[in-house]
Each structure stands twice: as structure tokens, then as C-alpha cells.
Homo-oligomer: 192 residues x 2
């Protein structure tokens, strides 16, 4: 790999990170390289830069494509495929989140939904089912939040993130602001 050190470090790091995830090293490195390229790059350039075989790169690109993480481009006068990552990094984040939802969360929810409907045959199963119900509720909550958020424009989302927990203070305050209750603090309690 004869890459400039700045780029090489990043690429190696994402190779490592990829392998901590389900993604393999090669694929992580390929994506890192594409992400850092100003122009779309072709498979041979990737082979050259990372020292992988052509077929390995081909498989890696296919994988990245199945995740919707790369765009295929054709440069004029060159019939090779060239690959690029979206310019907007938020688009990448959204794609990742969406794919993980489809691939990991949905199947889990399906399994939990079925489990929760089952008829427990023993105390043991009854308890287990309760645990699954808790998990199901939690994931549903996170997903409904996520769907809300996913719809927002990036600029708004960034503002919201910057607000962090302060947003909650606002939320707590709203009743006072609108309803002008006698200055009493109200507490909500809804354990299910």
C-alpha cells in the first residue's frame, strides 16, 4: 500500500473497525478509500492502492453496493466502473442506520412479536416472555423515535442534536408556559 500516511492510517483504522463489526477488513478498507477520494475511483485503482486481488475488490464493491453505500459512475471515454461515496456524510449515516434497521432490528422485532403472542407453558417461559416483552417495547420505542428523526432535514436534526438534553427542560416547561398552572411541579409516572 503506497498511500500517503494520512490516508493509510484512516484506511487501516476502518479496516480494523470493520472487522469488529460484521464487515470484513477488506470491505472496510475499500470503503474508507472511496470515502477519502475526491473523484470516483475504479476497481483497479483500489487493487493497486490496497494490494488486494481484483476478485476480492469486486466482491467488496458488491457488498458495499448491497448496503447502498457506493454510487457507480461512468467517466466519459472510460468504460470502467468508477465508485464514489455520497458527498454528504449525513447521507452515509442515514443509509447505515436504515440498513441496520432493515437487517438487524426488523428480524428481531419479528421474532419478539411472535414470542410475545406465544402461550407460555411454564413459569420459566412466562418469565422469559416478560423479558422479551420488555425488550420488544424498548425497541419499538427506539424505532418510533428513529423514524421521526430520520424524516427530519439534516439542518434541523443537527440543531436538535446540539440542543441535547436542554430540549427536555423546554418540554418540562411547556405546561407551565401554556397552561399557567399554579406553579406546581407535576410528575408523571407510567411504569407498565
Amino acid at each position: 500500500m503506497a498511500l500517503p500516511p494520512l490516508i493509510a492510517d484512516f484506511v487501516l483504522h476502518f479496516g480494523e473497525m470493520g472487522s469488529r463489526w460484521g464487515i470484513n477488513r477488506t470491505v472496510g478498507q475499500i470503503y474508507a478509500l472511496i470515502y477519502l477520494s475526491e473523484k470516483p475511483i475504479n476497481a483497479d485503482e483500489i487493487c493497486e492502492a490496497l494490494g488486494f486481488s481484483r476478485s476480492n475488490v469486486s466482491m467488496g464493491l458488491k457488498e458495499l453496493d448491497s448496503w447502498g453505500l457506493v454510487r457507480m459512475r461512468h467517466l466519459p471515454g472510460d468504460r470502467r466502473d468508477h465508485f464514489a461515496a455520497p458527498d454528504d456524510i449525513w447521507e452515509i449515516v442515514r443509509t447505515l442506520a436504515e440498513q441496520r434497521r432493515r437487517r438487524e432490528i426488523e428480524p428481531t422485532l419479528t421474532m419478539l412479536r411472535a414470542a410475545v403472542l406465544e402461550n407460555p407453558a411454564s413459569t420459566e417461559e412466562k418469565f422469559a416472555q416478560g423479558r422479551m416483552r420488555e425488550m420488544h417495547t424498548l425497541i419499538e420505542l427506539l424505532m418510533s423515535w428513529y423514524e421521526d428523526i430520520q424524516k427530519m432535514e439534516t439542518e434541523r436534526l443537527v440543531n436538535l442534536l446540539k440542543m441535547g438534553a436542554r430540549v427536555y427542560k423546554l418540554y418540562e416547561m411547556k405546561d407551565k408556559l401554556f397552561v399557567v398552572k399554579g406553579g406546581k411541579k407535576q410528575k408523571e409516572n407510567d411504569n407498565g
Copy 2:
């Protein structure tokens, strides 16, 4: 594995999920089993239930312990170690988030911080550095939000999640609210 089907399905599912993550199948299954158990269970029970060797279970438990995901307990009159997951599922979520921050996000930030300070030697590196800067900014933003959120009590956090994107409307409105109290019709609805 002679587990009730309800439990077996869940355990197998989390084995699969584990392996999509960096976590291996065995560890995923062990944790699933512990999570579903009403009482703390010991290593032999895990071997028995899942059909793994004693040493494999030992390594799995060690791994889970290093993630802070299991509690070791000692039952009176029994000198074997027993393992349990926290009763509160939110505690599990928080632990997972925190560990991933430590293990994946922090190292990435360290790498990016260094890269951003580097002196780019070419146009290529300059562009790459810009991309890294974007990524760095994004992760910093997500992390500052995460830290804010992590501090909140669960009850509050749940409320905030239930609000979803509506919280943003509140935020947009806040300036108006303070100045013009009650000019417009306002409705808020947040029961879950």
C-alpha cells in the same frame, strides 16, 4: 439444547445477531440465556442448556464480564459463581452504548483528531483531510448529544423519546412563546 422453544428461538436469534456484530455466536447465546433467566445461573447450567464445553462457557462469561454485561452472584450454600443480567433493560442499553463508545468511538476520534492536525502534503491529502474533518465534527456532535442523554434518568429519557420529532417544533416555537404568550393556538400531546 433442551430448552423450551420460546427460549430456544430467542437464544438462537441472538446467537445469529451476535455473529453479525463482532460478538461470536456462543457469547450471544450465553447472554440471551442469562437475560431470560429469572434467577442467576451457573456455568454448568449454561453448558447443559446450550451444549457448549465448560471452557467455552468460561471464556464467554469472561467476555461478557469485560463488557460489564453480567453480574456475578453467590447463592448461599453454593460455592459456584452464578450470573445474572441487570433487571432493568435500560441499564443494559446504557452499558452497551457506553462500552461501544469506549471501544470504537474513542479510538476513532483519537485517530481523526491526529489526522486533522497533520500537514497535508498534496491536494489528495488535503481533500482527504477535509473529509476526515467532516467525520470528526459529526462524531463529536453525536457524542456530545449522547453524553447529554446518557445523564438523564430513564423516565425522562423515555418521555423524550416518545416526543420524537415533535420536540423540535417546541424548540422552533420557544422564542415566540416567551415573547408572545398565548397568541396562537397550541396543542401538545404526549401520552404514550
